[in-house]
Amino acid sequence: MLEVRNVRKSFGSLVAVDDVSFAVEPGKLTGLLGPNGAGKTTTVSMIAGLARPEKGSVLVSGKALSGDTDPLKRKIGLVPQDLALYDELSARDNLRYFGALYGLSGQALERAMHAALTLVGLADRAGDRVKTFSGGMKRRLNLAAGLLHDPEILLLDEPTVGVDPQSRNAIFDNLEELKRRGKALLYTTHYMEEVERLADRIVIIDHGKVVADDTLAGLYAGVTPGGAKSLESVFLTLTGRSLRD
């Protein structure tokens, strides 16, 4: 479904991403982990079409993504780390705007909005301004905005930052449902327990390079054989304990 092949991106003399490759399959969630500054966000940006790779390519259904107006971008949904919503507008008006960016209008847009709001449990608050929402509700609406055009691939950049356990659990339920619907999910986070719970495959990058790409069981067996069985210990073994400020 989604294949990242040997992508590289630098900013001046800083190489942010170097020869990164991995794949995300339909109905599966791939966790993308890495310390601060490892290159996760730059990688997600290249997949979403926000930044152009200097080398390599991003393949969607086997075809390389190219250009701002590439129709392949319709197959990708982005859920940014920031709450990318207009507080002064209602949830419905936010979704109406984001849907129109993908060419949705009329009944198709209304149906898509209803489906997305129902999935995240906000259908009864559709007419309320976003500024009246709690942090968890905003996170769920942020997810709904990424799902509106029914993408086959969903890029989730730390989608649970700052939410309470109830909202986090609701988001996890949404993601499980999306997996069941056959969506390919790429999930970046610093919360190891989230990846342990949700991920079918885990990619760990550090200093712009992939240092591991395996299932959770594969990582346990390969990285810490006979040692502690936690993703955090695997992560620290691979990326070191030095601070990354």
């Binding site: 701002d68 107006t69 507008l89 129109a100």
Partner: protein, 381 residues
């Protein structure tokens, strides 16, 4: 799909603008308030009569001649006379509540009549005191008072009234055949304030683009399959519409409340207004392209806007500028906007007077947009 996205972007920006009470007040109410204030203190409308100079007149003489002088001054169209004591006249001038004080000393009538008859001897002295910040008015008062004194003294002395060997006709000149033409300071002040605040509206929208970038909204927009042309076009369209609304609401109020009229070409007025709004939109885009953060961009762009409106004659007409500054300010877009609006409103000029301002404002709009596109950070990482 591009049209759907384009319209959605414009609709969203308009909704956000109208939902922001502070932005609406700044865009609509503040220019009306300031425009009305500046219009009132800079002369009002000529159709309401020429502005008069306030004069405090103290008659210490109390004779028939001085009374005739006072009566003449009170009847004069150029003066608004308050008859008072010498002490009060001086006090008012010192405090700046009146521009000029005229004191007719004791014995002025007899002394001046005698001096006229004998053509010599001691001449009595009329005292004129004035506020040093109002030197233009004192010259006018001196001339008007001389006229009335000569008439009164000549009559008392039995000297035939002196006639000037020529007549003078004065006419406020605006476009011929324009029924509503005539200087109305509100037309200029509302044009100036309308332009200032349409620039502020565009500036705010430019800063909003920086806020959108900070909040990840720009990432969402850029991840959609939309061309850069559509994104920039949508932003320019919404900025132009909001800027134009700011100007037209301001002018509409001036037309209702202060009898401002588009005495010249309506098409010219609309052309200048739209071109000015597009220039402002380009300016807003420039802020979004060059600004690092909303906070720093706001300070610098507000200063730039104020300098533009000051040099462009939005606060005071450029004809009061020194000659060299009048030439220099031709490179300021606001100057062309103000001149174009003045031409099509109170000057009553035709469409041709709006052509050059419109072309130059569109050129500025294109320049600002081109620089913005060249400097815009399209990539997010």
């Amino acid at each position: 799909m591009a049209l759907t996205a384009f319209l959605a972007m414009v609709r969203k920006d308009l909704r956000l603008f109208l939902s922001d009470r502070r932005a609406v007040i700044v865009a609509f109410a503040v220019p009306i308030f300031i425009g009305a204030f500046i219009g009132a203190i800079t002369g009002g409308s000529t159709r309401e009569g020429r502005p008069k100079v306030n004069v405090a007149l103290a008659d210490q003489d109390g004779g028939a001649v001085s009374q005739a002088i006072v009566d003449g001054a009170r009847a004069d169209d150029n003066l608004n006379v308050t008859v008072t004591s010498e002490a009060d006249a001086r006090d008012r001038v010192e405090k700046g509540t009146i521009a000029v004080g005229v004191i007719i000393p004791r014995g002025f009538g007899d002394g001046s009549t005698r001096a006229l008859r004998e053509q010599g001897g001691t001449r009595p002295e009329l005292a004129i005191v004035y506020d040093p910040s109002r030197t233009i008015e004192v010259g006018l008062v001196q001339g008007v008072m001389t006229q009335h004194i000569m008439q009164a003294v000549a009559r008392a002395a039995g000297v035939p009234r002196q006639q000037l060997p020529f007549g003078v006709s004065t006419a406020a000149l605006t476009a011929k055949n324009a029924p509503y033409a005539g200087y109305n300071s509100y037309a200029h002040s509302f044009a100036g304030m309308g332009i200032q605040f349409l620039l502020f509206s565009a500036l705010n929208l430019g800063i909003e683009m920086l806020v959108e970038r900070e909040r990840g909204l720009w990432s969402r927009l850029r991840s959609a399959p939309i061309s850069r042309f559509t994104i920039v076009g949508g932003k320019i369209a919404s900025m132009t519409i909001i800027s134009l609304m700011t100007l037209l609401v301001s002018f509409g109020f001036a037309m209702i409340a202060f009898k401002v009229r588009i005495a010249g070409s309506l098409a010219g007025f609309l052309a200048v207004s739209i071109a000015c709004s597009m220039m402002a939109a380009g300016f807003g885009l420039l802020i979004a392209a060059l600004g690092n953060s909303p906070k720093t961009a706001r300070g610098v762009s507000t200063l730039a806007s104020l300098v533009m409106v000051m040099l462009g004659g939005a606060w005071v007409p450029t004809f009061v500028f020194p000659k060299w500054m009048q030439q220099v300010t031709l490179v300021v877009p606001v100057r062309w906007a103000v001149d174009g609006l003045d031409a099509t409103t109170w000057r009553g000029l035709g469409l041709s007077s709006a052509v050059m301002p419109t072309v130059i404002l569109l050129a500025f709009a294109a320049l600002f947009t081109a620089i913005s596109l060249a400097r815009f950070r399209w990539e997010e990482a």
